[in-house]
Amino acid sequence: MLALVLRGFMQRKLRVALTGIAIALGVALMAGTYILTDTINNSFAGIFKTANAGHDVVVTPAQRLGSRVRSQVSPITEAMLARVRAVPGVTQAAGGIFSVGTFLDVHGKRLTTGGAPAFVASEVPKRFESFAPLAGRFPANADEVAIDQATAERAGLKLGGQLQIAASAPAKRYLIVGIVKFAGSQSFGGAGAAILILAEAQRVVGEQGQFDQLDVAASPGVTAAQLRDRIRVVLPRTVEVRTGAQQAAKQSSDLESNLSFIRTFLLIFAYVSLFVGAFIIFNTFSITVAQRTREFGLLRTLGASRQQILREVIFEGVLLGVGGSLLGLLGGIALAPALDQLFKAFGADLPDSGTVLQTRTIVVSLLVGTIVTLLAGLTPALRATRVPPIAAMREGVEIPPPPPPTLARLVIRFVLGLAVLLAFATLLGGGLTPVGLAVALGIRVAFFYGGLRVRARGRRYRVVPALARALGVLVSWRGITGRLARENAMRQPGRTMVTAAALMVGLALVTFVAVLADGTKASIDRAVSRSFAGDLIVENSQAGNEQGIPALVAPALRQVPGVASATPIAFTKARLHGTSSNATVTAVDPSTFGQVYRIEWKQGSPATLLSLGSNGMIVTKGYAESHHLKVGQTVYVLTPAERNIPLTVRAIANDNARLLGNFTIPLPLARSAFGQRDDALDFVSYAPGASNAQVQPAVNRLLDARFPQAKSRTAAQFKADQANQINTLLALIYVLLALSVIVSLFGIVNTLILSIYERTRELGMMRAIGTSRRQLRQMIRYESIITALIGGILGLAIGLLGAVIAAQALSSSGFVLSIPVGTLLILLLVAALAGVIAAQAPARRAAKLDLLQALAGE
C-alpha cells in the first residue's frame, strides 16, 4: 500500500508539495519559537551559572511579590553584612551593587537601547568577580569605570575615553580604565555593564550603605547548604539566603517565566497558521477525493473494503503530515534566528548563543503537524469510503451524502472536538485551567450548534455565490474573461468558501487587531486630553523598560523659570492581605497632583487628596467592587519592602487614563514603606503667562545636563509617542500574521491548479476557438481575485464584528471604538493583491496547456 500511496504522490507532486508547505509553515513557526526561546533561556542559564560560580551562599532581597520593582531600595544593609561575616564558617563575604542604569556618550547619546538593560555594577572581591579585564584594569577611584567589551565595541569606546552614567544620581562622566569580558565563554546576553568602585556604585544607584546582593564564601569543610542555614538564622525575613547553585536556578526560572510571554505570543501565531493550513488540507483532500472517485470505485470493484479505502487516504494524510512537519521542523531551525532578528528589529535584543534543539521541540512539532493534517483530512477520507463501486464504470457518479448522524455519533463528535480544543488550550496556556476549560467548552458548543443549524438549513454556502456575484461586477468590465471568472468562482461554492476561509482567518485577525489598536490610540488620546491638565510630562526616554527617573528631577524642575509645579508620580505594587495576586500601586504627591490631573471621583473629592494623611489611599472603582472595599475601611497590605502596613480607604475613583493603579497612595509612604527610590514620571505645569516655546527648551537643557535619561513631552507629543509604540507592536503582529496569509495563498494556488486540471477540456476548447493565452491568464487571475476578496470581505466583517464586541465589553473602562477605514481599505487591496500573486503560477499553467492534449481531455 505504501508503494501505491507513494506512486500517487509522485503523480501529484505539485499538489503534495503545496499542501505539505501549508502545514510546514505553521510547524516552522512553532518549532522556531521553541528553538528561539529555549536558546534564550539556555543562554541566560549559562550566564547565571557563570555569574554565581565561586559563590557558596548568596543573600538577595526577598521577593514575595514576585520580581523586584527596579527602582526599589534594597533591604540589605551594612549591618547585615557585618552579621554574615561573624557567622562561623564564613571565610569571605562582600556586598555588591548590580542595578539598572543608563549609559551615554559624552554628547548625551544613549549607548544602550532596546530590551537588554545596562547594569551598574560594583567591583567585588576577586573570588566573586564575574568580570575579567581584557584590557586595562578595574576602577581604582570614584571617577573611573571599566565597561564590558560588547558595549565598548558597539559604541566605539576606547581606553582613555569617557562614559556618562545616569541612574538615581545626576549623570556623571567617568574615565574608561578597563574593558572587561563576562567570565566564561558566554556573552553577557546583549546587556551592557559598567563597573565602578563600590562606594561610587552605591551613590550612583542611590543606595548608600546598601547592597543589592551579598556574596559569601565558605571555609573548607563547610558545605554551601550548611553555611546557608547558618546565615539564614542571623538575617531578617526581608532577605533570601540561597546557595550559589540555588541562586542560579532561581534566576534562570525567574527569567524563563518572565520571557514565557514571548513563547505564548509567538505560539499563538503558529497555531493560527496551522489552523489556516488545516483548511487547505481539508480542501485539497476533498478535491483529490472527488477527482479520484473513479479510482476508488475501481478499487471497490476489485474487492477493496471501505476500511481499506479509508486506510489508504488516512495513510496519505499521515505521510503528508509527517513530511510537512519534518519540513517545518527544518524550517523552524532556519526560522529561529530570523525571529530573533525580528525581535531585535522591534527593539528587544535577547541573548542567543548556540541553537538549542530539544527533544520536546521535535516531538511536539511532528505530533502537532501530523495530527492537524490527519484531523483535517478525516472528513474527506470518510467521504472517499462512500464511493460506490459503480463509479468505476460511469463518469459523474455522485458520492452519496453521509447518513444522518446518530445520537451516539453526535456525542462522539462533540467530545472529540472538545478534546482537540482542550489539547490546544493546554498547549497554549501551559496547563489546563478552569478558564481554558470554560472557553473551550463555549467554543465547542457554539461550533456544534452552528454546524447543526447550518446542516439543517442546507444552505451553507449561500454567501459565496452572493459575494461572487457582487464582486463579479468589479471585473465585468473586462468582458467575457471577467464574466467567466465570476461564474467559475461560483461553480463550487463549498470549495471557494473553504479556500477563501483560509485567507479570511488571517484577515479577520489583522482587522481585529487593527481596529482595537486604533481604538486604543483613540482611547489614550481621549483619556490624556480629559485627565491631564499639566503642560509637560517628563519620563525616562525608555519608559517601557520599567526604568524611572531620579527623585531629584522634580525638585530640579521646580527651579526652571516658568515652571509653576512639578509633581512626581511613582509606580509600585502591593498585595492585599488575604489575596494571592498583586495590586498595582500609584504613588502621588497629594498636595500638587490634583492640580495637574483630573480624577473621576466616585466617592470623595479633590479635597480628599489633600487629606490622605500618612496612610490613606484612593481605590479604583473596579478593584473596590471586586474586593468589597468601602470608604473608611482599613486593610493590611504587603509591600515590596516586605512590610505589612495598614492602609485606609479614603476615596473611590475611576481613571480611564489608567495612570492610577488599584491603590493610589501618598508618595512619602511609598518612599518609607515600599522602598520606592525613583519616580516613574513628573507632571509639569507652567506658571501663568509662560509659553511652551520658552519653558520646554529650558526644561530640556536641565535634563540634558543632569538627567539625560529623562525626556520631556507635551501632551500632544506624549500621545504621538504612545501611538508610535502601539504602531510598533502592531507592525510586529502584522509580520507574524502575514505567515498565515502566506499559508492561505498556497491554498488559493492549490485550489486554482486543481480547478484548472478539472477544466482542462474547457480551456482547450476556449483556446481552439480563439481565446488568447493572455485572456486565459486574465480569467484565472480574476477568479483568484474574486476568491481572495470573498475571504477579505468576510475576514473584514468578522474581524470588525469581533472588535466591536470587544470594544463594547471594554467601553466601561473608557475604551473608544475607532475604525481605521484607510487600513481596512488597504487590507482589501492586500487581499486582492494576494489573489493576483496566488494566480501567477496557475494562470501560467493554464496558458501553457497543450491545446491538442487538452482537447483530447487528458
Binding site: 461564474e487 467559475n488 474547457e762 476548447m765 480563439g770 491545446l851
Partner: protein, 260 residues
C-alpha cells in the same frame, strides 16, 4: 494585431464571388511526424489537398489514419513537420501562436464531438462566446437567423446541463457559425449523438453550406454522416487513398472497409 492577407470584412467566402473556384483551405505536401528515431510515426505522409469555398467535405479513415491530425493542422491547432497550409489566403505555417489564435478566432469555426460548451454560460452566451472573446458586438440579424435555423430559441437562457445532447450540439453549431468564419471544422460532430439528433445536426451543416455558402470540413468515421457531404476523402496511413464527389452511405461504408 492582424494576420497578413485575406478578407477582413468578416463576410463569408460566398459573398465575394469565390464560390467553387478559389480554394478556401489548401495544403501542399503535408507531413507530420510524432516522436523521434525508431519510435517515430508519420501521421501524415505527403498530403496535398484543396477545399473549395462553399463546399462540404467529409474526411474518413480508420483510427490512426491521420484524419484528425490533418484537420488539426488545417485548422491551425497543430503545425506540420513539413509542407504548407493556407486558409482564406493566409499562409498558416508562418504564423506565430498569437496570430494563429486570432486567425482561429476570426476565421475558423469549430464543432467538437463532446460539444464543449461552457457549463457556466447560457446557450445564448455560449453561441456568442467567440464574439465575446473578440470583444465584438453580435450582428443581431445574423444571430436571429441562426437561432431560427437551428431552432433553439426557447432554450436560449438554459445552461448546457439543462439541454439534451442534440440541443447542445446544435448550440455548438451556432457557436461555430456566429462569427461567419471562412471555414467550419467539425470533428466527429455526431459521435456522441443518437441517430435522430445526428440527422438534425448534419442537416444543419448541409443547410449552412447550401444557404449560407459556408465552407465545412468534417472528420467522421460514420458513413451515414459522410453521405451528407459534397465530397468524400478517405485517409489511410497518412495518405489520401480516395477523393471523389459525393457518395452514398453504402459507398462510403465500402470505401472505409477497403481502406481499413
Amino acid at each position: 494585431m492582424e494576420y497578413s492577407a485575406g478578407s477582413t470584412d468578416g463576410s463569408l467566402g460566398s459573398a465575394d464571388g469565390r464560390v467553387g473556384s478559389a480554394a478556401m483551405v489548401s495544403a501542399h505536401d503535408l507531413r507530420r511526424r510524432f516522436g523521434e528515431g525508431e519510435a517515430a510515426v508519420d501521421a501524415l505522409d505527403g498530403v496535398s489537398i484543396d477545399f473549395p469555398a462553399g463546399r462540404f467535405a467529409a474526411i474518413m479513415g480508420p483510427s490512426g489514419s491521420g484524419k484528425s491530425t490533418l484537420m488539426h493542422i488545417l485548422a491551425g491547432l497543430d503545425s506540420p513537420t513539413a509542407g504548407t497550409v493556407s486558409l482564406d489566403g493566409v499562409e498558416l505555417t508562418t504564423l506565430d501562436d498569437k496570430r494563429l489564435t486570432l486567425l482561429r478566432r476570426d476565421r475558423v469555426g469549430f464543432i467538437f464531438q463532446t460539444f464543449n460548451l461552457l457549463p457556466v454560460l447560457s446557450a445564448e452566451e455560449n453561441i456568442l462566446l467567440p464574439l465575446s472573446i473578440a470583444g465584438r458586438k453580435p450582428d443581431r440579424e445574423w444571430f436571429d437567423r441562426l437561432i431560427d435555423t437551428i431552432g433553439i430559441r426557447d432554450r436560449l437562457h438554459h445552461r448546457p446541463a439543462e439541454m439534451s445532447g442534440g440541443q447542445q450540439q446544435r448550440v455548438a453549431v451556432a457557436r461555430a457559425l456566429i462569427s461567419r468564419p471562412a471555414v467550419v471544422f467539425a470533428d466527429e460532430p455526431t459521435g456522441n449523438l443518437d441517430s435522430k439528433a445526428s440527422g438534425d445536426v448534419l442537416e444543419l451543416l448541409r443547410h449552412a453550406v447550401d444557404d449560407f455558402g459556408q465552407t465545412v470540413v468534417m472528420v467522421t468515421h460514420d458513413a451515414h454522416a459522410a453521405s451528407f457531404a459534397d465530397r468524400l476523402l478517405v485517409l489511410a496511413d497518412g495518405r489520401i487513398v480516395h477523393d471523389r464527389e459525393a457518395a452514398t452511405a453504402e459507398q462510403a461504408h465500402d470505401l472505409m472497409k477497403s481502406a481499413g
